[in-house]
Symmetry: D4
Subunit: 163 residues, 8 copies
């Protein structure tokens, strides 16, 4: 790991979101970016969220990845408190396959942004890559790791479809 203290906080509204959000952790681990994970609900544990978001910057976090489903208020509630970048990962769901959580994240009113990624596993992976791209701006090691990750990814797309 390029640093001992976590640089990225991965938070999620419910234990059930972990099956998706572990892809954020696994991708950060591959990119050798220190991270921590926490279940914290904007609705069921608002004090825990306030405490976490208030301390995020002084605890050394640079980016928060927040996964949530349904009326997915977690990333917005986090971004309302901390000035560090917040990335949102909508969960798949029953109503239009997760459109409820997409819109609850992406449609943040002017003033408090959430950078929203795709629904589910793709979004969880991409949130980690985007966190890396943000950290890479001021960390040459992460920058090199990210470039390698992207090059490997390009190289791994086999040209001929396999039956």
């Amino acid at each position: 790991m390029s640093d001992k203290r976590p640089l990225v906080g991965i938070i999620m509204g419910s234990q059930s979101d972990w099956a998706t959000m572990r892809h954020s952790k696994e991708t950060l681990d591959k990119l050798m970016i220190t991270n921590e994970t926490l279940v914290v609900s904007a609705h069921r544990t608002p004090s825990r969220l306030t405490k976490y978001a208030t301390g995020a910057k002084k605890n050394g976090l640079k980016v928060i990845i927040a996964g949530a489903g349904m009326a997915a208020a977690l990333p917005g509630a986090t971004a309302a408190i901390t000035p560090i970048p917040v990335l949102g990962v909508p969960m798949e769901g029953k109503v239009m396959g997760g459109l409820d959580s997409i819109l609850s994240m992406v449609q943040m009113p002017a003033g408090i942004p959430v950078g929203t990624l795709a629904v589910g596993r793709s979004g969880a992976i991409n949130a980690a890559i985007m966190a890396a791209s943000i950290l890479a701006l001021s960390d040459p090691t992460i920058s090199r790791n990210l470039e390698k990750f992207r090059a490997n990814q390009t190289a791994s797309v086999i040209e001929t479809p396999q039956n």
Copy 2:
């Protein structure tokens, strides 16, 4: 008014929501239910919201009506703090006519409910009527006012469509 202290708090995420939310106030006034209004944003003024919601019950509020648009987190964030009933009014909007705010309110995860009304003016009126129906359970004056309101409403539907 049946009481001097406000029984219903009408809150909204932005000054621009007032054009819709004044219908909640006007309907409560017709029903002679004391109320107060406040602009408070879940995202831009989270501390103001925490303070308001934390004090709501001990300040004598019985119901909170919360109007918000887009990623409409206000009613859910309020209901996360106060145990009194919270009613949500989604604002009309550009994305599918307000479906973003409908889903951001109605799709609250298990544990913290928001009773969601229709988009826009209809919802603002209905939130007030629903607040009245809640207060009427233990207030005979409001109960009589509500019954009269409903009877007048029924009587006012003219049978023959007018050109």
Copy 3:
């Protein structure tokens, strides 16, 4: 139970809705709120509905929770007759995951409100909690039960996601 007579009526449009609506009953039972259950269809048994809704208030009911799917007319048809608060629970479904029943409930025209909760199990649980928050306004026992329920709920959110 804090009272022998049912305070909350749980009605549903079809036997098939029971798998969802039993979560309303189980949650009310946990909160020690007396309740009764009934299958009654706005479309297939309109007389049964008229009779039930007409008698609801004088039979001592304080809140009605109505679950229905597709063109989910049940909560609106109930609220058209009784002045007590009606909460709606949309069923999951095939067309956009239940958006048909969400919109059939939430989009009530001005005059007759339905407080709409989330689709499916989450909504069924939340309807019960919302009924509790309404009853708690004038019943200190229910108020204490609800505060305990919410505190337990907050405490039960484990911080570390479990594999």
Copy 4:
């Protein structure tokens, strides 16, 4: 007119629907089919609706056209009471252009059908034509009028688009 008593009842949930529903009346008038109009709301005037629908068949009505918006319960509530065919006309609206009223009509559960037409003016015209096609099955005059109406309609489509 082929008969003095109204054969078709045109009902609508609100005075504001008349701007759309008058197209049903105008089309029936062109087809020389007797009709009557009534504002009756499933939610605000449920007794008026019960009375109207209960008496529809014995009053000689053969078809009911019901226009309504938002959570458009009117045609379904009518079809729940009367065995004569009920046609539904969804109103244009803010949420996805009237998708709320389309789904509230078309998604009737098994047992009580509503034949749903298009949103707005097109649907209002088509409800009248469909009523004519139903009446034409046992009324040769209406059958001839309908055939002429369709032939004129075909002839009136000019081949060359006009600037």
Copy 5:
């Protein structure tokens, strides 16, 4: 059966629709209404459709029920040719659970109506009941059968939900 010649034609765009459309046939059989079934595609067998629709009236058909999925043109293409009433049954599907076929049926432009029922099995049953309600206008036997069918249906809704 009340008549030897088929009164209702049940057509469908593909063999795969039969699993749904057999519910139309079974319901018509219960109501003792003669019927016939045919696979005919607006897109793959347009001549077969033209021939069937052109002959429908003189062959004694009174109503056509048309089931189709995706860009569900079958009922509209039928109604373009025959003046007898056409009822449409959208098939469940992948895109938003069949919203593509709902909209392809219900949104018929002014001039050629299709009375559209719900998606899938509910719609197939309801199309048969609606056909019965149309035929009942001039056939006392069908009228009695339909009244009995509706009464049985009402009686069969058991009041207490069963675990």
Copy 6:
């Protein structure tokens, strides 16, 4: 023009579609591709459509562009008859901004394809360009015209946004 006989037929379901579909004609004219225009409705003038589509190939048409709104059956009904390529242009509309016509065109079942372009003016322009790309495969003049058109288009995108 590279040929005297029309190579492309631009058809539309209604005179009201011309405001959009004239963009197809204007774009074909710029590309110097001969074309003809016709109002023909799949629903109101099915015989005219059958005649036009049946004769299309032997009359020298190479591509048909079909614009239609709502339950937009025109391109599919055309493609059901003629083996030449059919391109569909959905009209803007009230229900979700034209999603009804998009889905009625794009969701053609296997066997009869319609190449669907964007809603409204963009789609009308693009249908003409796509027709050009098809004709260019065997017509060097059209190929040169298309290459020039694309080059001009690229060159016309000014780098600095203008206030």
Copy 7:
């Protein structure tokens, strides 16, 4: 095969799209149209795409069929480079059953068209048939094959639905 060099390129954004896109290949093979297949991602292998699309025309390709899911940029990115016709096949997906990929393809802005087919297997088959209809304009053998294919298809629709 009517030619040794591939006339149609079937490209797809991911190996996982092959299960759908092989239906394009199988249909082209049935129509005896030479083709080639390639996995190439607009996002993960942009250089591969630029190279392929730049060389497409001079390598003798006449049509490109591009299948992609989610934010399905592949067909548009291809059409931005090559002047030959590009057909798009949206993949089924979680968000509204693939509506994300439909809209990402069909809603191409004016200037660069993509002819979009249906979601999934139906679209993959239809893209091949549409490619055949394009090639048939200048290749009598393909024209004959296509006419036979369509005739067989019509003949294979059995009239009586099979249990």
Copy 8:
């Protein structure tokens, strides 16, 4: 300005997007963050995009904000080439109010992330604020400016709604 060279590139697919995207520029200017603007279309000027994205990092850009409408490929195509963070701003549009551009941006497949903001003006403002939050991680001046901006924003929310 805290730096002479542009730190943020604001790109847009069309001149018509400038009315929205100027809010990104105005917000960056308020935050005293150097920036540059460019019209570049993924579809009409792919070479310009490739050149811009390829040079972005070595030209000193830290973040790219990309606004686009309809099938909004611009941010994804940019992120496919450059490793620096890319933020997407969907344009309002006709189809479901811009849902086409939301989904075309947010639903990026795993590997190449785009942080997507809200539709239209709110999203344009938020993209600038998010860029500031990213730059603030390693630039104390921007960090102070951002904190002040957020504090002013909170202070500017007046409590009492104004008529």
